[in-house]
C-alpha cells in the first residue's frame, strides 16, 4: 500500500488471515447449535426421525471449535497491532473475541456436566455473536447492517430510525460551506469507511478537517492551492488497476462530478469554512455542487444501467433513436425526427420511463401537439429541445416552464407568437432560441433577451454581495483529465435573423 515495499513481518502476514479464519469457529458453533436443536426436537414423537447427536460427536465438534476459536483470537491479536484500526473499537472487539474463545474452551471443559453444558453453550454463542458483530463493525463501519433496514423491521426490533434524521437539511448554494457541506460529504461517502474514526488505514483519517490537514503517515495529502501536489487526488487519478489507486478496486469509486469538485477544492487552496458564494467557482463546479445540494434529488437516483435498459426496450418498440450522451451518466439523446409525422403525442408519452434522463430531445417535424407537450414536464434534465415544424402553439409552451436547464430551444416554423415566448423568461439558462418562420417579432425577442440577461445580472449581483470579487469566467475550461470538453456558457442571447 505504500511507496516502499513493506517490511517482512510474519505476525502481520498471519494477522491478515484473521477475517478469513474467524468464520470457521463461528460456523462450527452454529452447526453444533443446529445439531443440538435437532436432538432436542427428536424427543418429541412426531419429530423422532431427526438425528440425535452422540457424546463423541459433541466432544469432537467442541474440541474443533475451541481450537479454531483460539487460533482466531491469536490471529486477531496480531492484526490489531498492524491493521490501522481505531484502538478504542479494536480493544472492545479484541477482548470480546478473547472472551468468546475462552468461553468455547470452557464449554469444552464442562460439556460432560449435564446441567451446566446448555447454559455455558448458549452463553458462549451469545458472546461469539457480540464479538463477531464488533469485528464486522470494524471492517464495514457502524450502521452497515441497518443501513438498508426497512422501517417496519426497525420498529419491530425497537431500533430507532437513525439514517433519515442523520442528514441535516442541506443549505442553499450561497450559504453552503466549502468544506463542511460540499467536500466532507464526498469524503464521507467514498473514503471514511477506511479512513475514519473506526479504521484509519495508512494512519490517514478523512473525517474531519483537522485530520485531513494532518494527513497520514506519509504526510499531508492535500497540496493546498496546487492540485498537482495533492496525494489525495493523485491516488484517485491513478489507473484503477494499480495497487495505489484509491478507493481500492472493488470499493465504490468516485464519480466524475465528485472528482471535479475535489479538484476544484484543492486548486482553490482547500478553503475551509467559507461559504461557496464568497469563492470563485467555475460554473461547471457550481452546477455540480448545486445538484448535489439537492437541486433535484430525483435525478441523483437515476442509475445508468436501468435507464439504458429502458431506453433499449423503447427503441426496440419504435424506431426512435436513443443514444447515451455522456460517458458515465444516464443522460440520453432522443431523436424522433427521422419518424416524422408518424411520431405524435402518444409516442412522446411512451418515453415516460426515460423522461428524467433525456438531455437532448429532437421532436422536429413530428406531429406532437400542445397537449402532448405535457409529457415534457417530467424531463427535468432537458438541455436541447427541438420543436421546429411541429403543430405547437403558445399554449403548449407553458409545459416548458419547469425545465430550468434548457439552453437551446428551436421553435422554427411553429405557430408560436410574442405572447407565447414570454413564458420562456422562466428558463434561466436559455441562450439559444430559434424562431425563424414564426410570428415572433424582433421586439419580443429583444425583450426576452433583456429579461434573461437581467436575471443573470441579478444572480451575479447577489454573488457579488457575498464578496465574489471576480466575475464567473465563462470561458474557463475545466481540463479534468483532458477528456471533459463540456463548459458552461453565459453568452448573450442570440437574436433571430
Amino acid at each position: 500500500m505504500t511507496g516502499q515495499p513493506p517490511a517482512e513481518d510474519l505476525g502481520a502476514f498471519l494477522g491478515r488471515f484473521h477475517p478469513l479464519w474467524v468464520h470457521l469457529p463461528i460456523g462450527i458453533l452454529v452447526l453444533l447449535a443446529i445439531l443440538e436443536a435437532a436432538s432436542l426436537a427428536a424427543r418429541a414423537r412426531p419429530l423422532a426421525w431427526l438425528p440425535s447427536i452422540s457424546r463423541g460427536q459433541r466432544s469432537l465438534i467442541l474440541a474443533l471449535a475451541a481450537a479454531f476459536a483460539s487460533v482466531s483470537a491469536a490471529l486477531g491479536w496480531a492484526l490489531a497491532h498492524d491493521g490501522d484500526y481505531d484502538l478504542a473499537h479494536v480493544s472492545s472487539h479484541q477482548w470480546l473475541g478473547v472472551a468468546a474463545a475462552a468461553a468455547t474452551v470452557l464449554v469444552l471443559a464442562v460439556h460432560r456436566v449435564r446441567w451446566l453444558y446448555p447454559v455455558a453453550f448458549v452463553s458462549s454463542l451469545i458472546l461469539m455473536a457480540v464479538a463477531a458483530h464488533a469485528g464486522a463493525t470494524l471492517t464495514h463501519g457502524s450502521g452497515y447492517l441497518t443501513a438498508h433496514m426497512p422501517a417496519f423491521v426497525g420498529k419491530w426490533l425497537g431500533i430507532p430510525p437513525t439514517k433519515p434524521v442523520e442528514k441535516p437539511k442541506a443549505p442553499d448554494y450561497a450559504r453552503a460551506m466549502a468544506y463542511a457541506d460540499v467536500v466532507q460529504p464526498i469524503l464521507k461517502d467514498r473514503c471514511e469507511s477506511c479512513h475514519g474514526a473506526e479504521k484509519s488505514n495508512g494512519g490517514l483519517r478523512l473525517d474531519t478537517l483537522e485530520f485531513l490537514a494532518k494527513g497520514g503517515k506519509h504526510g499531508p495529502v492535500v497540496g493546498a492551492g496546487d492540485p498537482s501536489k495533492s496525494t489525495l487526488l493523485a491516488r484517485i487519478d491513478l489507473p484503477p488497476e494499480t495497487k495505489e489507486h484509491m478507493p481500492p478496486k472493488g470499493k465504490p469509486q468516485l464519480s466524475e462530478d465528485e472528482l471535479t469538485v475535489l479538484e476544484w477544492w484543492a486548486s482553490a487552496g482547500a478553503p475551509r469554512e467559507k461559504p461557496m458564494a464568497s469563492l470563485e467557482v467555475p460554473e461547471q463546479v457550481a452546477e455540480i455542487v448545486q445538484t448535489r445540494l439537492g437541486g433535484a434529488p430525483a435525478e441523483l437516483m437515476l442509475a445508468r444501467g436501468p435507464t439504458l435498459l429502458a431506453a433499449e426496450r423503447l427503441s426496440r418498440g419504435s424506431s426512435v433513436l436513443i443514444r447515451p450522451i455522456s460517458p458515465d451518466g444516464p443522460w440520453l439523446d432522443v431523436n424522433a425526427r427521422p419518424l416524422g409525422k408518424a411520431f405524435g403525442d402518444k409516442e412522446l408519452a411512451a418515453l415516460a420511463p426515460i423522461a428524467p434522463a433525456i438531455e437532448w430531445l429532437d421532436l422536429g417535424g413530428t406531429s406532437v401537439t400542445d397537449a402532448g407537450l405535457a409529457a415534457l414536464g417530467a424531463m427535468h434534465h432537458l438541455v436541447r429541445l427541438h420543436l421546429d415544424q411541429c403543430p405547437v402553439t403558445d399554449s403548449g409552451l407553458a409545459a416548458l416552464k419547469g425545465l430550468k436547464r434548457i439552453e437551446y430551444l428551436n421553435l422554427r416554423a411553429t405557430a408560436v407568437t410574442d405572447r407565447g415566448i414570454g413564458v420562456l423568461s422562466a428558463l434561466p439558462r436559455l441562450r439559444s432560441l430559434y424562431v425563424w418562420q414564426t410570428a415572433v417579432t424582433p421586439a419580443a425577442m429583444k425583450a426576452l433577451g433583456d429579461t434573461l440577461t437581467n436575471q443573470r445580472k441579478i444572480s451575479r449581483m447577489e454573488a457579488e454581495q457575498a464578496e465574489l470579487a471576480r466575475q464567473i469566467d465563462a470561458e474557463r475550461f475545466h481540463g479534468n483529465t483532458g477528456e471533459t470538453l463540456r463548459t458552461a456558457a453565459t453568452k448573450p442571447n442570440e437574436s433571430p435573423k
Binding site: L309, A311, R323, I325, R412, S432, L485, T487, K497
Partner: protein, 487 residues
C-alpha cells in the same frame, strides 16, 4: 479487454483467432459480455434491437459530452492559396519579387519549384477586418466576410503530402497509404447514421470552368479496411442524383419489395455459408436502394424551397452541377440525418494565372459556402452541424510564374458550428506565411481529425478497428485535440 461487440464487424477478427486463443478468451469474454450487456444493452441482441440490420455505431456511449451530430465538409480540392484567402502577410507583399530568404526554404520539400530561383510573391488582393471579431479575410471572399463571427479560421494547418492524390488521402484518412478508411467512414462506423433512407456518408462533386483540374479518385471516400457499408456514396450533382432508382415500367413497389426480400433471403444463405461480412453489406445496400426509391425524389424535390433561399445560395438551377446547388442539397441531406456530407469543388490548383483563376473559383464557392452557414444558423442547425471549409494543402509564398506551387508547411481552413467557437483565429504562420508557428495552436491534419472526432464526443484514441493484427485509428499514433476551439 476486447469485447466482440458486433458479430458482423468482428467476424473477421473472430476467425483470425487461433483455437487456443478462442478457448482461452471464451470464458473471459462470456463473463465480460454478460456484464457488458448490463451496462450496454446493445451488446447482446444487437440484431433484435436493430431491425433490418440497422447499424447503431460501435461506440456504446461517447467518451465525453458530444456537441456535433453531423459534418459538412466543403472540400476545396487542388490546394487553395492561404495567402490569397485567410492568411494576411504584409511582409510578403513588401518583398514581392525579391529572392525568397533561403533560411526558410533550405532543405525543404518542393513540388514543381525544384531547381528554380525562388522569388517571393505577394498577394494581389486586399484583406479586411470583418465582423465584431475583426478576423482578417480576403476581399476575394465578400460573403465569407459576412460570416466572420461564425467561423473559426485555422491558419496553422500543415500536412505531410505534397501531391494531390496522396494529400487528399492524408486529409481524408490520415494516411497516404491506400486502404485506410476515410473520416466519414470512421464516423459512420463509430456512430451510425440517423437516417436509414439515405446513405450515411454522401459525396457530391463540382468543378471550375477551365476543365484542367486534378481528378479526385473515389478512394478518397473509401471505407478502406472497414466493412464497405461505411463507404461514401457519390451522388450525381448534375441531373438526377442517383441514376435508375425509379422502377422500370410494369414493376410496382410491392413487386419490388418481394424481389428485394427474396434476394435478401438467398444472400442470407450465402452469408451463413461463407461468414463474409461483405454479404451483409450487400443485403443492406439492396434495402437502402429500395428506400432511396422514395427518399431521393423527396431530397431533390425543391418545390418547397422559397426563392429567397435559392437566391441566398446563388443557385441558378437546381441540379445544374454547381457548387451552389450542391450546398443546398447538402443542407437538405443534413436535415434528413446524413452523418457526413462531403462536397468537393475542384479548381483551386493555380500553378499559373493565380489572380484571374482564384477570382473565378472564389466567385463560384464563396456565396454558397457562406449561405450554407447562414441557412444552418437560421434553422438552429449550426449548433450541431460541424462545417469544415478547406483543401488538402496550401500554396507557396514563392511565385511559380503567375501562380504558386503546392505547399505543405502551412495552409488555412475554417470550421463553423458543432460547438466550435466562432470569430476565433487559431494558430499563425511566420511573417512570410511559409511555416506554421509552434505556439501550441499548430494544427497537423491529425490534430484536425482528433478535434473533429472530439466534437462528436469521440476520443480519437478509442475509436479503433483491428486489421491485420493491429488496432488502427484515424489519427494513427498521433493527434492532439485543440480544446481551445470549442466554445
Amino acid at each position: 479487454m476486447n469485447l466482440p461487440t458486433d458479430p458482423r464487424v468482428f467476424r473477421e477478427q473472430q476467425l483470425a483467432w487461433s483455437r487456443r486463443t478462442f478457448l482461452g478468451k471464451s470464458a473471459q469474454a462470456l463473463g465480460a459480455l454478460a456484464l457488458g450487456s448490463l451496462i450496454n444493452p446493445r451488446l447482446l441482441g444487437a440484431q433484435e434491437a436493430a431491425p433490418g440490420g440497422r447499424w447503431m455505431g460501435i461506440l456504446p456511449s461517447p467518451n465525453f459530452a458530444p456537441r456535433a451530430k453531423r459534418v459538412i465538409h466543403l472540400y476545396m480540392a487542388g490546394g487553395p492559396s492561404h495567402l490569397e484567402t485567410f492568411d494576411y502577410k504584409p511582409e510578403l507583399n513588401r518583398i514581392h519579387g525579391q529572392p525568397f530568404p533561403s533560411s526558410f526554404t533550405n532543405g525543404q520539400q518542393l513540388a514543381q519549384l525544384q531547381n528554380t530561383t525562388l522569388l517571393a510573391r505577394g498577394s494581389s488582393f486586399n484583406f479586411s477586418r470583418c465582423g465584431v471579431s475583426g478576423q482578417m479575410i480576403s476581399d476575394l471572399l465578400p460573403y465569407t466576410q459576412q460570416i466572420a463571427d461564425d467561423i473559426c479560421i485555422i491558419r496553422s494547418l500543415h500536412t505531410e503530402q505534397i501531391n494531390h492524390d496522396p494529400a487528399h488521402a492524408f486529409m481524408n484518412a490520415g494516411s497516404m497509404v491506400k486502404g485506410r478508411p476515410s473520416m466519414g467512414s470512421w464516423l459512420l462506423y463509430g456512430l451510425g447514421a440517423e437516417t436509414e433512407n439515405l446513405p450515411g456518408f454522401v459525396v457530391l462533386m463540382s468543378r471550375g470552368p477551365s476543365g484542367g483540374e486534378q481528378p479526385v479518385s473515389a478512394r478518397q471516400w473509401s471505407a478502406g479496411f472497414l466493412p464497405s457499408r461505411f463507404q461514401g456514396v457519390q451522388f450525381q450533382s448534375k441531373g438526377v442524383p442517383v441514376h435508375y432508382v425509379g422502377n422500370p415500367d410494369g414493376v410496382c413497389q410491392s413487386t419490388q419489395r418481394q424481389v428485394i426480400d427474396e434476394i435478401a433471403r438467398l444472400n442470407g444463405f450465402h452469408e451463413e455459408e461463407t461468414l463474409d461480412p461483405e454479404v451483409q453489406t450487400r443485403i443492406a445496400q439492396y434495402e437502402l436502394a429500395f428506400k432511396m426509391q422514395s427518399s431521393v425524389p423527396d431530397l431533390t424535390d425543391l418545390s418547397n424551397e422559397p426563392d429567397s433561399i435559392r437566391e441566398m445560395y446563388g443557385v441558378k438551377e437546381i441540379g445544374d452541377g454547381s457548387f451552389a446547388s450542391n450546398c443546398l442539397v447538402a443542407r437538405r441531406l443534413a436535415e434528413r440525418g446524413v452523418r457526413f456530407i462531403q462536397l468537393y469543388h475542384r479548381g483551386w490548383d493555380q500553378h499559373g494565372n493565380l489572380d484571374t483563376d482564384i477570382k473565378e473559383v472564389c466567385r463560384r464557392t464563396d456565396q454558397a459556402s457562406a449561405a450554407l452557414v447562414k441557412d444552418l444558423k437560421q434553422r438552429g442547425m449550426l449548433e450541431d452541424t460541424l462545417v469544415l471549409w478547406g483543401g488538402e494543402f496550401g500554396r507557396t509564398p514563392m511565385g511559380q510564374g503567375s501562380g504558386r506551387d503546392h505547399h505543405i508547411n502551412a495552409f488555412s481552413a475554417w470550421l463553423a458550428g458543432g460547438g466550435i467557437r466562432g470569430g476565433l483565429t487559431w494558430g499563425s504562420t511566420d511573417e512570410l506565411g511559409y511555416r506554421y508557428i509552434d505556439d501550441g495552436q499548430q494544427m497537423h491534419v491529425h490534430d484536425l481529425h482528433a478535434t473533429m472526432l472530439a466534437a462528436f464526443g469521440i476520443n480519437h484514441e478509442k475509436l479503433t478497428y483491428r486489421f491485420q493484427g493491429r488496432d488502427f485509428r484515424l489519427t494513427d499514433v498521433h493527434g492532439n485535440i485543440a480544446h481551445g476551439l470549442f466554445a
